[in-house]
Amino acid sequence: MESAILIKNGRVINPTDANGKASSNVASNQSLDIRIRDGKITEMESELKPKDNESVVDAQGCWVMPGFVDMHTHLRDLGQADREDISTGTKAAAAGGYTTVVAMANTDPPTDCAEILDRVIKRIHERAIVEVLPVAAVTKGLKGVELTNMVEMSDMGAIAFSDDGMPISNLDVLRRAFEYARLHGRPIISHPEDKDLSHGGSMNEGCQSTCLGMKGIPSASEAACVAREIEVLRYTGGRLHFAHTSAKASIDLIRQAKAQGLQVTADATPHHLVLSDAEMTPYDTSFKMNPPLRSKKDVEAIEQALVEGVIDAIATDHAPHSKLDKSKPFDHAPFGIIGLETAFSLCFEKLVLSGKMAPNKFLALITTHPAKILGIPAPQISVGARANIAIVDPEMRWNFEIVESFSKSKNSPFTGRSLKGKNLVTIFDGKIVYFDKERAAKRVQEVCASST
């Protein structure tokens, strides 16, 4: 039996759409009750009475928002299920308010052909508790040499194409990828990094790397790659999305390319928005990710670019790694941190509570904007819309404790950090897939508990 849910007394916050306009006819900030049936929002009124067999969620004081979209996660699974699998990864996503996550193709083996994509899609069906949209590789084995069967995989459901982690350094291959992408029309997501410039580095190159005696990754390794890929795109046409932009120089290039009318989009991660290399705990591998935490100047540029709309979306780059791997010395440990459970709160505090962005504009960065880049329907709270919902208490202060994380891996620089704004309930396709049992126990009255 499909579950039925009534959300009471919440404030509906809808994101602006990708053009910055109100995304639905429901005005933001309205207090409305929301009825959900068969995976869809069926009624929105100021006062709805609970019916039999209806779970009731008390959203008093909470914001009721469309579930978030993360356009960049690494859910591992397959040969890397010791780090994360689609079950634990999507549980972490649900806990963070995400109802759609885009899973990168650098799986083991890489998602570079129909057979592997088929395995990934089957895993998703078996294990995912929120929507997982798989990305497939641009080149076979992520080697940057031969194109994959992009059309076949697009038809199977690949949402985008990316060699994330392994930038395509041969520009002729990149050119052919842009050209060939016309056949499927899906975005290509670039991991902008010149591997020669970054070779051997493990943190941002700057006064911190000099002080700590660490080989640095210059911001030019990102910006130089952004520049050359923009030039190839300018020649071929098409569209290109830059993942996890971290450097002011890259952002300036993207701003310029957008102003020139190129179809370029970009995202940034929560960690690059809130941390600079000066805030690293020296030699703590929970602060090691690629691209690395950059300088304060870069952090400011990311914030400004998000406010201006030069960076279109916030994406987590959730990257689980085992404790064993992360316990290696800093220079030998793998890059990456988990981020699904902390993303909303970190960015909410940095952008909204600081007064730099209106809530609905911020919300667009994690809903409508990534949806538009991916070509999926715009998430919104309105009658007839798919019931993917995050219910967040914007006033709640909470501590993120790594032991409570749903992820299999515990590599986060934010453990123990005090955060503001907590996702309490996540509804996916009309079902409650997450609620914070510790902090929201009294808010949720499920049918099984109240009926019979």
Binding site: E205, G206, C207, S209, T210, C211, L212, G213, M214, K215, G216, P218, P282, Y283, L324, S327, K328, P329, F330, D331, H332
Partner: protein, 347 residues
């Protein structure tokens, strides 16, 4: 009976000797840094040392040097202690120096050739740390190619075992910097206001970093010069004056530290050739005329003779402190071991 008496005599002689040697390490009471040393568990870097700690260390090193240079039998102050040498990287000199220093204080020394054994089998620093704790080792002298590895070991061992950093990647080599300081001070010059020039491959040099942090604390004016490809970015933000060319860096310098040039830097494309390096940065008698007349030249060794510094200059004992540095290394390491480990319980 005669046996018994001779034993008694021997015993009293032994006691007398012990008293004598112990007396050599009776420290002056007016050393404000001693309390800080009592609270300190590890020596990882010069960055976190206070000036008082440095002064106390140098004072103790002077006492150690007297004992060491007079060829006295080993002390017994650390006779109940075990010091493990854990060298993941080759180093004959530093390892021997630590070993001698530990033995001169009466400690037992365990040399673990980790590079060959456990790491090859996939053992982590954590495993090694646990093994050392289980073995009951009191101190670990570690050298490792990863920056921060000494901090990591110290974090894992917490209060159980002392960690002495004998070099971690490009980051720190505190005893080298301390012995350089000791050698500079022995010339009779105070460090405050002195110009110290560090020449060569700064980027990859833990010796350079540890010297910069240490000598700056004592008020030295640090200048560096090296190929721009071997000088780390934003070094000037730490108050260091960065030069491309040798000449302005060593002009009027009181001390010049020449760094070892790893010959593989050429293969890595960081310098075009050893010849070009010599042309630009090799120290010789002619070039050091720009320095103060009483300049002293140091080198952490092993010297690539004729590359960083000419043969004649290394061997010119009026200018070169290289041999003194080696001797002082033992004294400084004795002092560090003593200050970290002495608990009043040696026999």
């Amino acid at each position: 009976m005669s046996d018994a008496s001779s034993l008694a005599v021997e015993k009293s002689t032994k006691k007398k000797m012990a008293d004598e040697t112990d007396s050599n390490l009776i420290l002056p009471d007016n050393l404000p840094g001693l309390n800080a040393w009592k609270a300190r568990r590890h020596l990882l870097d010069t960055k976190d040392m206070s000036v008082e700690e440095v002064d106390a260390l140098i004072a103790v090193a002077k006492l150690c040097k007297e004992i060491h240079s007079k060829g006295r039998p080993p002390l017994t102050v650390l006779s109940h202690k075990v010091v493990a040498n854990l060298f993941y990287e080759n180093s004959t000199r530093t390892r021997s120096s630590f070993e001698l220093a530990a033995r001169k204080l009466g400690a037992s020394v365990l040399n673990l050739d980790i590079r060959m054994s456990s790491v090859a089998k996939g053992e982590t620093i954590e495993d090694t740390a646990r093994t050392l704790v289980s073995m009951g080792v009191d101190a670990v002298v570690q050298r490792h190619s990863s920056s921060g590895s000494a901090h990591k070991l110290a974090e894992l061992l917490r209060h159980e075992v002392h960690v002495l950093n004998a070099g971690d990647g490009w980051n720190a080599h505190p005893t080298q910097a301390l012995l350089d300081l000791f050698s500079m001070q022995e010339t009779g010059k105070t460090i405050k206001g002195r110009k110290v020039a560090i020449i060569g491959d700064i980027t990859h040099s833990r010796v350079a970093r540890s010297n910069i942090w240490l000598l700056q604390k004592l008020g030295a004016d640090i200048h560096v010069a090296g190929p721009p490809t071997l000088v780390p970015v934003e070094l000037d933000s730490f108050g260091v004056t960065v030069h491309e060319k040798l000449e302005p860096a060593i002009k009027d310098a009181d001390f010049v530290i020449a760094l070892r040039l790893q010959l593989e830097r050429q293969d890595e494309g960081l310098i075009p050739s050893i010849g070009e390096y010599k042309r630009l940065y090799r120290l010789d008698h002619e070039r050091i005329k720009r320095c103060k007349p009483d300049v002293r030249v140091l080198h952490p060794g092993p010297v690539n003779r004729g590359i960083e510094i000419t043969d004649d200059l290394v061997d010119d004992s009026k200018v070169s402190l290289v041999n003194l540095q080696v001797a002082n290394g033992i004294a400084v390491r004795m002092a560090v071991l003593y200050l970290l480990m002495y608990d009043g319980q040696g026999t």
